[in-house]
């Protein structure tokens, strides 16, 4: 690390704030993603599935069914 001179506190504060704020954002985004995956997996374990997902599962099992439809994302 070079000698940052008399303004070191401003430089290090700028990098520190950037790191903390972006790390907090990244953690929040990743945690939200995990939370939604957990909830969806829990619903599917209880047999509550999207119609298209159920149809796809039946098709894989060889049962006839309607092709998947475009629905809520």
């Amino acid at each position: 690390m070079p000698d940052l001179g008399p303004h070191a506190v401003f430089i290090l504060s700028a990098y520190g704030v950037t790191f903390v704020v972006i790390a907090a954002l990244a953690l929040a985004v990743v945690e939200d993603d995990r939370k939604q995956r957990r909830i969806l997996a829990d619903l599917e374990r209880r047999g509550i599935r999207r119609r298209s997902a159920t149809t796809a599962a039946k098709s894989k099992a060889g049962a006839p069914g309607k092709p998947p439809r475009k629905r809520t994302p």
């Binding site: 690390m1 070079p2 000698d3 940052l4 001179g5 008399p6 303004h7 070191a8 401003f10 430089i11 504060s13 700028a14 990098y15 704030v17 950037t18 704020v21 972006i22 954002l25 990244a26 929040a28 985004v29 990743v30 939200d32 993603d33 939370k35 939604q36 995956r37 909830i39 969806l40 619903l43 509550i48 599935r49 999207r50 298209s52 998947p68 475009k70 629905r71 809520t72 994302p73």
Partner: protein, 245 residues
């Protein structure tokens, strides 16, 4: 490209892209930080504080990029009513707000030793503050309306009205007499920055852009899943009501 408009295919692509993007982003951030602190020389006028520019400038670029992304996605919401467009706009807002906040704070921390003040109400600084407030307004609007479709359309209108602020930010330094310096990278006649400082700036800019894209893709995936969960829970409630009836 059109197949990506299918949320399930989009999710599959995100699952494949995220690990690669994570590695590439961390690698470029590492290289960028090394260049910023160990390779770039101090500026003849700014001294060591020039190192703040390697995070301030990319953050400011992404603050505007994020808003333009929301504006373009808002057109997709209003014209084609595509649910992915609304998802893209909604999830870009907190990320754009964060980069705008970083641009404001790092600019302020650079301003104190260089200008002698943390803040001045000049056109560039004020218009970036307005951009930050627009982001907060959009986030609040999405939170205030429960039904995603209605919230998306209302936010899309606000986002498009607010898009007028982006060219104001860009050209504020040319249109008004500001303390903030004029463009020194993207300008007619080429950059005015020495290559020894331009290299870390570009590496950090690419790293920040990849970080934005990575976080946006993960946030979009989470939002799509949230809407699926919401739809399933609604179906469950409707079924329970039918059984009771």
């Amino acid at each position: 490209m059109a197949s990506l408009a299918n949320p399930t295919r989009f999710l599959s692509l995100v699952d494949r892209l995220v690990p690669w993007l994570t590695v590439l982003t961390l690698l470029l951030l590492g290289v960028g930080l090394y260049l910023s602190f160990f390779v770039a020389p101090p500026d003849y006028q700014q001294g060591e504080t020039v190192r703040i520019m390697f995070i301030h400038v990319p953050a400011a670029w992404l603050a505007m990029f994020g808003y333009m992304l929301i504006a373009v996605a808002s057109l997709g919401t209003l014209i084609w009513r595509h649910p992915l467009a609304d998802v893209a706009a909604k999830t870009a807002a907190p990320i754009g707000a964060t980069f705008t906040f970083v641009a404001l704070v790092t600019g302020s921390l650079w301003g104190k030793p260089m200008w002698g003040t943390y803040w001045v109400w000049d056109a560039r600084l004020t218009s970036v503050l307005v951009l930050f407030l627009l982001y907060l307004g959009l986030i609040a609007l999405w939170q205030a309306i429960e039904e995603p479709g209605r919230a998306g359309r209302a936010a899309a209108i606000l986002a498009l009205v607010g898009a007028i602020n982006v060219p104001i930010i860009k050209f504020s330094v040319d249109w008004w007499n500001t303390l903030h310096q004029s463009a020194s990278v993207f300008r007619l006649g080429g950059p005015t920055i020495d290559p020894s400082m331009l290299a870390p700036l570009f590496v950090m800019a690419i790293a920040f852009t990849l970080l934005f894209v990575l976080l946006h893709l993960i946030a979009m995936r989470a939002e799509i899943l949230r809407r699926r969960v919401r739809a399933l829970q609604q179906t469950q409630v409707e079924r329970a009501a039918l059984v009771e009836a």
